[in-house]
Structure formats: C-alpha cells, structure tokens
C-alpha cells in the first residue's frame, strides 16, 4: 500500500508538472507552428453587424486564398478594446497579430515601446491609394498602420422630428442651434441625447466647442506641446456651460451609455425618442444594430457642428478620426498580407457599401451609397481643417483627465477653468 500511494503521488506530481508546462506554453498561441500552418489573431471593434459580418467574411476569404493560414477574428466593444484589451495584450507580450489602431498619441507610445511592425516598405501601393489621411498612422515618416475608415463627427438628426418642431433647415450657427433646441423643447421633443455614462460622448461636445473657439494654429500647437494656456480652451468650456444651462439633453444623461441597448444615446435616436445626437461617422452602423428591423432608419440626417460667430475657430472645421489596423512586431508576414487584402479596392468597396463607414482608398470613394455617409463625406470635403479626436491626439493621460473634467462640468461639478487645469496637471505627470 505504501508503494502504491507513493506511485500515485508521483503520478500526481507528473500531472501537475505537465499542467504547468501546458500553461506556460499558452503564450505561444499564434504564429508559425513549424509545419507551414499559420494562425493569425485579428482584433477589431466591429462587434455588431454589418461590420462584424464583413470582417468574418474577409477572414474566411483570406483563409480560402491561403490554405495554410487560419484567421481567428474577434470583434470587441470599441472602448474595451482600445483602453484595456490591446494595451494589456501588448504589455504582456502576447498581442494579437492584427489589431485595431486609432492613430495619434496612442500609436506613438506603442511604436516607441517597439510593439508595432514598421510596414512602410510593404504597403507602398496602399499608401498611394489612401493619400494624406494616413498621416495619423505614420510616425517620423514611417507607416505603422493603415486606416480603413476615416470620417468626421457631426449631428445625426431625425428629420421627421425636426419637421414636427417646425425646423426647416439644419442650423449653421450656434445661435440657430440654440433656437432649434428651444423649438424642439416647446414641441415636447427631447432635443439631444448624449451618452455621458461612457464619458467620451460628453467630452466630444467640449472638443467641438474648442474646435470652433480655437484657431487651427492653436490646436496644432497644443497637440504637439500639450500647452493649453490659450484662453480659447477656457472659452470652450464656458460656451459648453452656457449650452448646458438650456438643458438640451435626455433625462439621466450622466448614466446613459452611448451604444448599448435601447436606452443608450444611439438607441434613443434610433427609436425616435430624441431629435439628434452628436456622434462620429460610425453612427448609422450602430443605429442599424439597434432598430427592430436591423436597418438604418430613413429619417436620419447629418450636419456638422455649427460655427460660433466671432470666434477664432474655423466654422467649417471638422473633428474626425479613423480606424486602422496594425501588425504587432512579432506577427508573421501573413499579417501584412491580410492587411493588404483588407485595404484592397474590392474589400474597401464592400466596406463602403455596407454603410459601416467611409473607406479611405480613393477607388472605393464612390462605393459610399449610404446617403448619410455621403453627407459625412461631403462635410469632410467641405472642411478646411480636420482635427483628430482630441483624446486620441493628446494621448491617454491628458485625454483621460480632459474627459473627466468635461464630464464633471456636465454633472455640474467643477468649472471651465478646472478642465484646462486638469489637462495641464496631467500633462505634467507624463
């Protein structure tokens, strides 16, 4: 009996050892396994159709054209992916091969740490096709990711509700916007939804006020120096404060999520409960996933954030951003091939046709058949200056402090000055 129990113990120890070995082997989940078989992991933010389905199709097509390659494609909620999943995967040195890249300060940090593959020499044709839009994904002249979608932000509004409130044309100045808010309220319609529970949708209001209050030169300088001492940044907060006093937003907006469910700010617009929402070019895609028939409602219209009379900012300026894909440093060469396939005119056209966004490749521009996205495209073409999302441009540290300060203002805590102070303080901790 003694010997048997010893044997059992040894067997148990061996099992534990095997388990430990198996666990430690987990990190080598991707890449070439030696027999020519390659597994690519691909993380993107298309967690809802049509984008989710499109990327799944693209992955399957790539697998078919490259029988040795398996593509594990997963769509995650955008902010989880950007703020948590990708940074953690990069830090733990087990990143996905192909992953979403939003450009700006964030990509700069990732490149500085050596996590992202320099693809400049592999994608020369694609660079020509995309044009200057790619600059947000280039650092010191080298390309680290390619944007497959680029668009600008504006008001998505319900034409029917506007007509019901007696509004004949979308506002072009801040005064007109205020008038329209008043008209909507007197018609018993909630004017605007904002998903302040997610912070950034509220923050975008301040970005747009800053965009229309600050000159392009000031904004460009602030982006590179993180110096926000120009008084226009405080003015932006004051203008926002004045606007908030008109109480234009949906009830309980401080806890409203942006995109999840019928009670989200997008859901409220989709179901006709509010008249408009300030949101990026992805809004039709999100709304399409929140309606009963899974279609983008007919009543949707778009206009750019109106200019402010007498302010230094360019009234046609637009706030925008895009979605790109980058390959991690240790990704196999097939990753770049998959990226090139995603950027091919064929896939880009299908992306444009899906209505999920505005493709960046020139040949695919006329594939945008969605009338709403055509308006965004037109707005972008009319904009003399396009500013990258401020939180993306300033990086996570300053961007996070900025967004918190703005949400505090929405909650009636803190002042316009506090937003700028918070940004300066955060910049000092970098």
């Amino acid at each position: 009996m003694n010997r048997r129990s010893t044997k059992r113990l040894l067997a148990g120890a061996a099992a534990v050892g095997l388990a430990v070995a198996a666990l430690s082997g987990c990190s080598a989940s991707s890449g070439d396994s030696g027999d020519g078989k390659v597994t690519l992991t691909w993380w993107h933010n298309g967690n809802q159709d049509p984008l989710k389905g499109l990327w799944e199709d693209v992955a399957a097509e790539f697998e078919e054209a490259n029988p040795n390659v398996t593509v594990e494609v997963t769509g995650y909620q955008n902010e989880d992916l950007q703020k948590t999943l990708i940074p953690n995967a990069l830090r733990s040195n087990d990143p996905p091969d192909l992953f979403q890249a939003w450009g700006g300060g964030e990509l700069k940090d990732q490149v500085a740490a050596g996590y992202v593959k320099d693809i400049s020499d592999d994608v020369t044709d694609e660079l020509d096709a995309i044009g200057p839009t790619v600059s947000g994904w280039q650092i010191d002249g080298a390309t680290y990711a390619l944007p497959f979608s680029y668009g600008i932000e504006g008001f998505w509004y319900n034409k029917d509700l506007f007509a019901q409130a007696g509004i004949t044309a979308p506002p072009t100045t801040l005064d007109e916007l205020n008038d329209d808010v008043a008209k909507l309220k007197s018609a018993g319609i909630v004017p605007i939804s904002v998903g302040a529970g997610d912070k950034w949708p509220a923050a975008h209001w301040w970005y747009n006020f800053a965009l229309k209050d600050c000159s392009p030169e000031t904004l460009t300088k602030a982006q590179s120096t993180h110096d926000f001492s120009d008084s226009c940044f405080t003015t932006a907060g004051e203008d926002l404060e004045t606007f908030l006093e008109t109480e234009p937003f949906n009830e309980g907006f401080l806890a409203t999520p942006a995109q999840q469910g019928a009670g989200s700010s997008a859901g409220l617009l989709a179901s006709g409960k509010v008249a408009m929402e300030l949101m990026g070019h992805w809004e039709p895609g999100v709304i399409g996933g929140l309606t009963d028939d899974k279609k983008v409602p007919e009543f949707l219209g778009w206009f750019n954030f109106p200019g402010i009379e007498g302010a230094a900012g360019d009234p046609t300026a637009a706030l925008g951003g895009g979605d790109g894909f980058a390959c991690s440093q240790q990704a196999p060469p097939e990753c770049v091939e998959l990226l090139k396939y995603i950027m091919s005119p064929d896939v880009q056209k299908r992306f444009g046709e899906s209505g999920a966004g505005i493709p960046t490749v020139a040949d695919a521009a006329d594939s945008v058949v969605d009338p709403n996205l055509q308006m965004v495209l037109e707005g972008k073409q009319n904009a003399s200056y396009v500013q990258l999302w401020l939180d993306t441009a300033y990086g996570a540290t300053v961007g996070g402090a900025m967004n918190d300060g703005i949400v505090n203002l929405f909650a009636g805590k803190g002042s316009p000055k506090d937003i700028v102070t918070g940004m300066q303080d955060a910049a000092a901790t970098e």
Binding site: A112, E251, D404
Partner: protein, 326 residues
C-alpha cells in the same frame, strides 16, 4: 539550515524532498511524509507565489516609478505617486465612498441579515423556498446582476414603471445619474446581492446554538424575543464577527459591481479605490501611479485585517491555529 525537532510545515517545504546535512538518519516514514507535504503544498505554493506574492512585490516596485507600462523602468520618482494619490480629491472621495459602504453594510446589512436569519430559522411553511430565493442573487454572476440592474434603473425603465404601478411614481429618481442618489442605489444593489451570503452564514451559525439553552430559557418563562436577544445573538457572536470581517474587506476592495453598473460615475460619484486604480493605472496608461494606488489599497486592507484579527477575532481564532505538526 538544520531542522529543529519541531518541524513546521514551512521549513519542511523549503528544505525540499531530501533534508541534507543531518547527522541522524531520517526514517523512511519521515522522508515520505516530507515528500507528501511537498507534493500537497507545492502546487498551491507555486500558484500563491506566482499569482499573489510576486504581483504584490512587483506592484510595490512599479509604484516607485513613473511608468506607462511600455518599456523598462527608468524614471524613479518616489514618493510622487503616493503624494499625488493622497492629495487627489477624486481618490480621497473614493476612500470616502468605500468607508460609506463599509459603515452602511455593518449598520444596515448586518442587523437585517440577522433578523432574516432568525426568521428563517423558525419552523414555517415554505422555509426552504424562502432560503433559496434569498440566496439566488449571491449565486448570480456580478456582471449579469449588474447589467440587469443597470437596465432596470434606466430613466422611465422597468423599476420606475413598477414604482408608478404601485402608486409611488413620485418617488422615482435618476437612480444612476444623480450623484446624490447613486451611492445609495449602489448600496441597495450590493445589499440585494450579498445579503443572501450573510444570511446563510448566520443560519449556519444558528445551527451551532444548542437548543437546550433556549428550551431552558423558555421553561423559565423567557419570551421568543428575550431568548434571541440574550441567548441566540450572543452565541452567534463568532459568526457575526467573521461576517463583519468579510464584509469590511469586501467593501474596501469593492470593484466589479460598481464597474459594471456605473463605471465609477457619474463624475466620480461612485468611484472606489479599486475603480480609481483601474481607471488611472490601465485606462490612462500610468501603471506606476496605478500601482501606488494598489499599494495604498493593500496597506489599508492589511492594516485593517491585522488589527481586526488582533483585537476582535482573537478569542474566536484561539486554538484554531496549530503550532506545528509531528
């Protein structure tokens, strides 16, 4: 490292399977015993060291640096991270929110749970069903429960509809969006979620209260209330003290339910030390600062745990910690 006659578990493990350098020949049985201890304790020790001790030490190291998580640690800045955390009104507010939950848990959850446990300990129809119903929330996943409440508490959502259906529509509030209300809302959700656990603990404790004592008291003419007050609850003391310990530690480290329902918002009104840590450490890429917050949270919990064990749990734990084996 000669082993003394009274070998403790710890030294046996560190000595490895073959204790070398001993003059006396160890008996076969003793060697086998060491091997068994090493094999049984080994896996748990590896996991504990790898996933608890090492991360704690690493966090303490990271907290001394300005570090965004990318690249090597170069920018030593102690004690800036700690000063920054302790002077940030949002973090100080977060500590206040943790203490708010601690105090309310002890003052409200405890008595309610004891009362319900006493009721459920009486013989009555449907007792098992009631026990199960009260325990269900505790079994649900935090995320599922949190999302359900988030949906229920939306403006004009099901909960408000329920209130107006029973004629209390005027009591509707912006449960999650009003910074004066939201912490109470969170406390309600936490109570709903965890009171089942407290009740089960107390019910288990009540089974250890000898029935003879209450019978004797009843024969002497004590009422049900008097029996509970003077016999049952004092004898439930050890259970109450353990529950309070678990409740306080849980409240200090509160994270998941808050994160799912409010994310610490609106405007930091429900931020706790743990949500603050995640927000700054991970979402803002300041892992050094986030680690400093983690260390502060660890120290607060550790000091509390040690003090509580020393002064409150001392009698309960006496005799339960063995001095050594063999």
């Amino acid at each position: 490292m000669t082993l003394t006659r009274t070998e403790t578990v710890g030294s046996a493990v560190s000595a490895g399977p073959t204790p070398a350098g001993r003059s006396a020949r160890p008996s076969r049985a003793r060697r086998r015993k060491h091997l068994e201890i090493a094999l049984f304790v080994g896996p748990a020790t590896i996991v504990y060291v790898g996933f608890v001790l090492v991360p704690v030490v690493l966090a303490a190291v990271y907290s001394l640096y300005k570090w965004n998580g990318f690249g090597p640690l170069t920018d030593f800045n102690f004690p800036d991270n700690y000063i920054r955390a302790l002077t940030d009104p949002v973090f100080v507010g977060a500590i206040g929110h943790n203490l708010f939950i601690v105090v309310l848990s002890l003052v409200i959850q405890g008595p309610v749970a004891i009362g319900l446990a006493l009721l459920l300990n009486r013989r009555m129809r449907g007792r098992t069903l009631l026990r199960v119903v009260i325990f269900i929330p505790y079994v649900l996943s935090e995320v599922i429960a949190g999302l359900s409440w988030k949906l229920l508490l939306q403006p004009d959502g099901p909960f408000d509809a329920f209130l107006s259906a029973i004629g209390l529509g005027g009591m509707s509030k912006l449960w999650l969006a009003d910074s004066d209300v939201v912490l109470w809302t969170m406390f309600w959700i936490l109570t709903w979620k965890y009171i089942g656990f407290a009740i089960i603990l107390f019910l288990a404790g009540l089974q250890g209260v000898p029935e003879e004592l209450s019978e004797a008291a009843a024969i002497d003419g004590a009422s049900w209330w008097q029996i509970q007050r003077h016999i049952t609850i004092p004898l439930l003391g050890p259970t109450i003290r353990i529950w309070a310990f678990l409740s306080i530690i849980g409240s200090l480290q509160l994270f998941d339910m808050i994160w799912v329902v409010t994310g610490g918002g609106p405007a930091g009104a429900t931020a706790t030390m743990a949500t603050y840590m995640v927000q700054f450490g991970f979402q803002r890429n300041q892992l050094g600062f986030g680690s400093a917050v983690a260390v502060i949270l660890f120290i607060v919990s550790l000091i509390f745990a040690l003090v509580y064990q020393r002064f409150v749990l001392r009698r309960d734990l006496a005799g339960s910690l063995t001095q050594g084996v063999g």
